[in-house]
């Protein structure tokens, strides 16, 4: 380049560390990390074992039950969450189409992992969200972590997950949870922080303890926002099961991955649409439920 004629070399070509340094550094970090994992392999197994059991149990329950029973249970849940005939009928149509396409068993596997991932995300996300809402310092510390979790390409954090937990369903599950938990945390935090200061003052004035304030006032009033967080978590875990199939998660995601590898155009789209169908079912049902929770805030009297 012309400007390089008169610029000193160091300003022209970026003075990167020598390749040797970077290679050495990478090797040290990788080896250290792997060594650490090897050392604690026993502990890691103990920790992940319950997840394995839970996931296997749910998967077996979903896949081995007769389809008509699974469908009936689903419809009952959807109806009681949404109280809407339209959403319930939509669920019937969607699930029947999935069955007709021969994807019932794979859908059940995906449903199992999404259910487990969502439950774990709630169990982890809710307390963290509550802690964040109570302290600006914790919020300040957690927010950047969440930013990283949400922007880091999902393929990248598959790497440490695989290094630590190996290949299989549980590592896939953990990757899904990492991807799906941030909205749960953020929206719990937001919901609690948005609770009307006057109502909180009233709670204080009547002598509420911090715990009473949390359970009587903050959580109930934040519930619609928290429900939005759960909805987002479900949507994100559905998106992530496809990526997680790369580390050994079965179900619709695995089919999609096969379709990509083999250029099975139709098969890929069938699986994709099956994911869309359950995403819509979950979304509509959980949103309708969230709206029903807010029923009291409808202004009847102007």
């Amino acid at each position: 380049m012309a400007s390089c004629d008169f610029l000193p070399g160091v300003l022209c070509k970026f003075p990167a560390m020598s390749d040797q340094y970077i290679r050495d550094a990478r090797k040290v970090i990788d080896d250290g990390f792997k060594g650490l994992v090897r050392e604690y392999a026993g502990l890691i197994d103990v920790v992940t074992q319950p997840l394995q059991w839970f996931l296997n149990y749910l998967e077996r329950l979903f896949t081995s039950s007769p389809w008509i029973v699974v469908l009936a249970v689903m419809l009952v849940i959807v109806y009681f969450a949404s109280r809407s005939m339209r959403i319930t009928i939509g669920t019937v149509v969607g699930m029947l189409l999935i069955g007709v396409m021969g994807l019932w068993a794979d859908t059940m596997v995906t449903l199992a992992i999404v259910t487990v991932a969502t439950l774990i995300a709630i169990v982890i996300g809710l307390p963290i969200g509550i802690l964040m809402a109570r302290s600006d310092r914790i919020q300040g510390a957690v927010n950047p972590i969440l930013d990283v979790m949400q922007t880091l390409p999902s393929f990248v954090y598959l790497i440490p997950v695989v290094v630590i937990f190996g290949i299989g369903k549980v590592p896939g599950l953990i990757a899904v949870v990492i991807y799906a938990v941030p909205p749960m945390i953020r929206l719990t935090n937001l919901g609690i922080r948005l609770v009307d200061a006057e109502v909180l003052e009233a709670a204080d004035a009547f002598g509420s303890s911090p715990g009473q304030k949390l359970w009587n006032v903050q959580i109930p009033l934040a519930l619609p926002t928290i429900m939005a967080g759960i909805n987002q978590t479900i949507m994100m875990s559905l998106a992530m099961v496809v990526v997680a199939s790369m580390v050994g998660v079965g179900g619709l995601g695995k089919n999609t991955l096969q379709a990509i590898n083999n250029q099975f155009f139709t098969f890929g789209f069938m699986n994709g649409f099956a994911l869309v169908a359950i995403a819509i079912i979950f979304d509509r049902a959980s949103q309708a439920f969230g709206k029903r929770l807010q029923k009291h805030s409808e202004v009847v009297h102007g």
Partner: protein, 350 residues
């Protein structure tokens, strides 16, 4: 009946991270504007000393920014004082530890808020028993007590409505029922009626006065409306820029306003409804001629009774019926007409 009054002594509140450091400067005469300009701290309250009698309604009146809402929040310590004392039943509330303060708030105080501050996800009855829930009273018991107060404030039949389904006036009745269900000695009302329509406001004032005649709680009522203050207050304290500029009974304030600021307020007041017969009566001349009036009758009532009787004078009698003075129509009219203001008098003198 409430057996203890509230004594507020030399209370200062300076908002800001280092409020305590500036108390001395404020004592030495630094004004609110100076404090804000030089040190970035806001003077909330300055040397407040008010004695709030047990079983009476003390009204704290002031315009926005005068510190009245800050003051009421010191009584249940929703705001921490900079220095000073708030004494109830021999205990300084400002020195209570967290646990004692919580117990004090649960059992001794109840508060009604300007914007109602009801829990939107709870029904009327559930809101009413909120204070009892916090105290750990079983629902069966608390519901029974809650229903009683819902009926007393005139909301029977609305127990299972949500706050959003009610009008502002009805919501504030819920706020009042919630406070009364707590069965606390002290009732704190922070601009409780300011958000209501004028007619509903008068209605709610009547509800409060009727209940108070029976309950005799120590009520602290915040308002920016002098008419409301005069109607409700056994005692009135007027706040301006965080300072008490006058305190006394309604009559004292109307008849001898402490400065031009209060004079300006008092000008707009219907004096006939505030001033009592005993205040303006002339000495009894011994002639038993005319209608009989109670000594604490307002001039408006007096004028009405005299006119209806077709007379021009009345005998003012004390509680035992003994004549203590007399009142005629010209005296009443002279007292009811707004006198010239301080400034007008000054101009006339010059």
């Amino acid at each position: 009946m409430a057996s203890h009054g509230i004594e507020i002594r030399n209370l200062y509140k300076i908002f800001g991270p280092r409020g305590r450091d500036y108390v001395e400067s404020v004592k030495a005469g630094m004004t609110k504007a100076e404090l804000n300009e030089k040190h970035g701290h806001v003077l909330g309250l300055k040397d407040i000393s008010i004695s709030m009698p047990a079983g009476g309604i003390t009204v704290v009146m002031g315009l926005s920014g005068s510190g009245k809402s800050t003051l009421i929040r010191h009584i249940n310590r929703l705001i921490e004082p900079t220095i000073g004392e708030v004494v109830y039943d021999g205990t300084d509330i400002c020195r209570m530890n967290e646990k004692d303060l919580r117990e004090f708030r649960r059992h001794k105080t109840a508060m009604v808020f300007q914007k109602f501050a009801l829990l939107p996800h709870r029904t009327v009855i559930e809101n009413t028993v909120y204070g009892l829930d916090i105290q750990g009273v079983p629902r069966a018991e608390s519901t029974r007590r809650g229903r009683y107060w819902i009926e007393r404030v005139g909301l029977s039949g609305f127990e299972n409505h949500y706050p959003n389904q009610l009008s502002g006036g009805m919501q504030q009745r819920v706020g009042l029922a919630r406070a009364l269900t707590n069965d606390a000695d002290i009732l704190l009302m922070d601009e409780a009626y300011s958000a209501l329509d004028p007619l509903i406001r008068v209605d709610m004032q009547t509800v409060l006065l009727d209940l108070q005649a029976e309950l005799k709680k120590t009520v602290v009522f915040i308002t920016h409306d002098l008419d409301e203050a005069l109607r409700l207050g056994d005692k009135i304290a007027i706040l301006r820029d965080g300072k008490v500029i006058q305190q006394g009974t309604g009559q004292e304030i109307v008849l001898s306003p402490a400065d031009d600021y209060i004079t300006a307020f008092v000008k707009e007041v219907n004096r006939g409804r505030v001033i009592q017969a005993r205040t303006v009566m002339r000495p009894f001349d011994g002639i038993m001629d005319g209608v009989r009036l109670a000594a604490n009758a307002t001039l408006e009532t007096a004028a009405k009774q005299i006119t209806e009787a077709g007379q021009s004078r009345a005998i003012v009698a004390d509680e035992n019926g003994a004549p203590v003075g007399l009142l005629d129509l010209p005296t009443i009219i002279a007292a009811m007409v707004t006198p010239a203001s301080h400034s007008a008098e000054k101009m006339a003198a010059e």
